[in-house]
């Protein structure tokens, strides 16, 4: 892309505030290593996240969902293409205003829940009173008040994931990237955590991009769901759910929920079969 085109893109972003994240033509290719051929993991792929929307990405395993999140976050550089967050290119490092929650338990076992949550904030030189107020709020918001002095080892997996969310939340991210944060949790806990995330989304007004393999989770939480193809991942369809902003896990009993989930599955079934078939052929 030429310099003038890059300038132009950032200007359109300024004129059109709805575009919070713009992904253009990104690919990710892993170079050949020790006799293995190069792996084309992702793209080329375009995506625009609107200001304040809840966007989920579903796709067959190994399609590059997490790679997409890494590229949007600035944790990994795309092989080609550009990512813009609030009009500015994301390059080489995570920009201020983006928060990431990973699938694995990333709570620090040597810190109490309170200190885990305060961790990122302490580095920003926030004054003490402000810090305490914000940490208390995040701890309370994620239902961790009674465990503030506990260490992560004393908590369940779901609670530890809450700690990680609170640690990100306390920094007031304008874009929250969630990489299968409930993947390791049981079904009931996952639904309840879904409610928490919806509450958080409404209250903070942040834009959320959620990577998930659970179709029901995507159908219940999102304004839009992007369905990815098998590797190299591209969007084969972006589905509007049409849910009202005020919603919670009870919408799973609505008729539209079943329709959306089955639409997602019919799109994904073939791709998943292709992914499995590809693996079977290799073996």
């Amino acid at each position: 892309m030429s310099d003038s085109a890059a300038l132009h893109a950032s200007e359109t972003a300024r004129v059109e505030p709805q575009a919070h994240v713009e992904v253009q033509g990104i690919t990710r290719v892993y170079p050949p290593v020790a006799g293995n051929p190069a792996v084309h993991a992702l793209g080329p792929l375009d995506l625009t996240l609107r200001q304040g929307e809840f966007f989920s990405v579903v796709g067959p395993s190994g399609c590059g969902k997490s790679t997409l999140l890494d590229v949007v976050a600035g944790l990994a550089a795309p092989s080609e293409g550009t990512v813009r967050f609030e009009g500015k290119p994301v390059a080489g490092q995570v920009p201020e205003g983006i928060g990431v929650v990973f699938q694995e338990d990333a709570s620090f076992p040597w810190l109490t829940v309170y200190d885990n949550v305060a961790f990122g904030l302490r580095r920003q030189g926030v004054n003490r009173g402000d810090l305490a107020a914000r940490v208390d709020y995040a701890v309370e918001f994620m239902g961790l008040k009674d465990f503030a002095r506990a260490y992560p080892a004393q908590l369940s997996g779901g609670m530890r994931q809450r700690v990680c969310i609170a640690r990100t939340l306390v920094l007031k991210p304008r874009l929250l990237l969630l990489d299968e944060p409930f993947g390791a949790l049981d079904q009931q806990t996952r639904l309840l955590m879904g409610d928490e995330v919806l509450r958080l989304w409404r209250e903070t007004g942040a834009t959320i991009m959620l990577i998930t393999h659970a179709l029901d989770e995507a159908a219940m939480l999102s304004d839009r769901v992007g369905v990815m193809s098998s590797r190299p991942g591209r969007f084969i369809e972006v589905l509007e759910t049409g849910w009202p902003r005020e919603r919670d896990s009870r919408i799973v009993s609505e008729e539209a929920f079943g329709r959306i989930t089955s639409r997602l599955w019919s799109l994904l079934r073939e791709e998943s079969l292709a992914a499995i078939g590809g693996r079977g052929a290799k073996a």
Binding site: L75, F102, E104, F108, L111, R123, A153
Partner: protein
């Protein structure tokens, strides 16, 4: 509240039981010791009472203390080299995968060979005296510290490093605030073993080629057939090692409890 009370009660009763166990062990050792004394006689094993009174005598004798300082100095220096050197080498090897993979089997082999066979070489290199003792203590202690530190660095969950990047932390603050606390518990476990082996190495050094120090006193008492002094010095070393080991164990447990 009631639960907390119960928990603190159970901690207390656990501590009481721990103390009880410790007393039982000490009593057991004394009984076995006395038994050995009866079996072997004054020729080889002095009685607990004779040994302790000889130890008190030694502690009151100003001529004894230079030997203590000599050993403490050699041990302290060897420990410093073993811990610091082991830490630096371990972090380097842990951070660089290829070096670590090459070094690990070599280190494990070095760890298991009887290093006493190298002692003549050390003596030829460093001569009789302080340097040889320190060198011998260091080569005993440094290897476990390297191995533990290397593994600690290698085993840091990648997600911690990703989290640090997501929180926009630079390499220095990642090292200080994420890598260091994540690795400390395992490194302290390495220090504990390094401590014990450094003491062993230093004392072996003193036993076989030295003109001062507690190890030297042990060998000289053996030559003069002064059994109470021999055992009194051994007892002093035993108490020192046990106390330090116990303190390190407490630190170790406290750090590892959270994981």
């Amino acid at each position: 509240m009631a639960q907390a009370q119960e928990a603190s009660n159970s901690v207390r009763s656990e501590r009481a039981r721990g103390l009880q166990d410790a007393i039982l062990v000490v009593l057991g050792i004394l009984v076995v010791w006395q038994g050995l004394h009866w079996l072997a006689g004054d020729v080889a094993v002095s009685s607990p009472w004779a040994t302790v009174s000889r130890l008190v005598e030694l502690l009151l004798d100003p001529g004894f203390w230079p030997n203590v300082w000599e050993t403490l100095y050699a041990f302290g220096l060897a420990l410093l080299y073993a811990l610091l050197g082991g830490l630096i080498i371990g972090v380097t090897l842990g951070g660089h995968r290829l070096s670590g993979e090459v070094a690990e089997p070599i280190l494990v082999a070095l760890y298991s060979i009887p290093k006493i066979t190298l002692y003549p070489v050390i003596l030829l290199l460093f001569g009789l005296g302080m340097s040889a003792k320190v060198a011998f203590g260091t080569i005993h202690g440094i290897i476990p510290v390297i191995i533990f530190t290397m593994n600690a660095v290698r085993n840091v969950a990648p997600v911690y490093l990703r989290t640090a990047r997501a929180l926009r932390m630079g390499p220095l603050s990642t090292g200080w605030r994420v890598l260091l606390p994540a690795t400390v518990p395992e490194i302290v476990s390495g220090f504990r073993i390094g401590f014990a082996l450094t003491l062993l190495g230093t004392l072996i050094g003193e036993l076989f080629a030295s003109q001062r120090g507690l190890g030297f006193m042990i060998i000289r008492s053996m030559e003069r057939h002064d059994v109470p002094t021999l055992l009194a010095v051994s007892l002093l070393l035993f108490l020192f090692a046990t106390l330090c080991s116990w303190a390190l164990l407490i630190v170790d447990r406290r750090l590892n409890r959270r994981l």
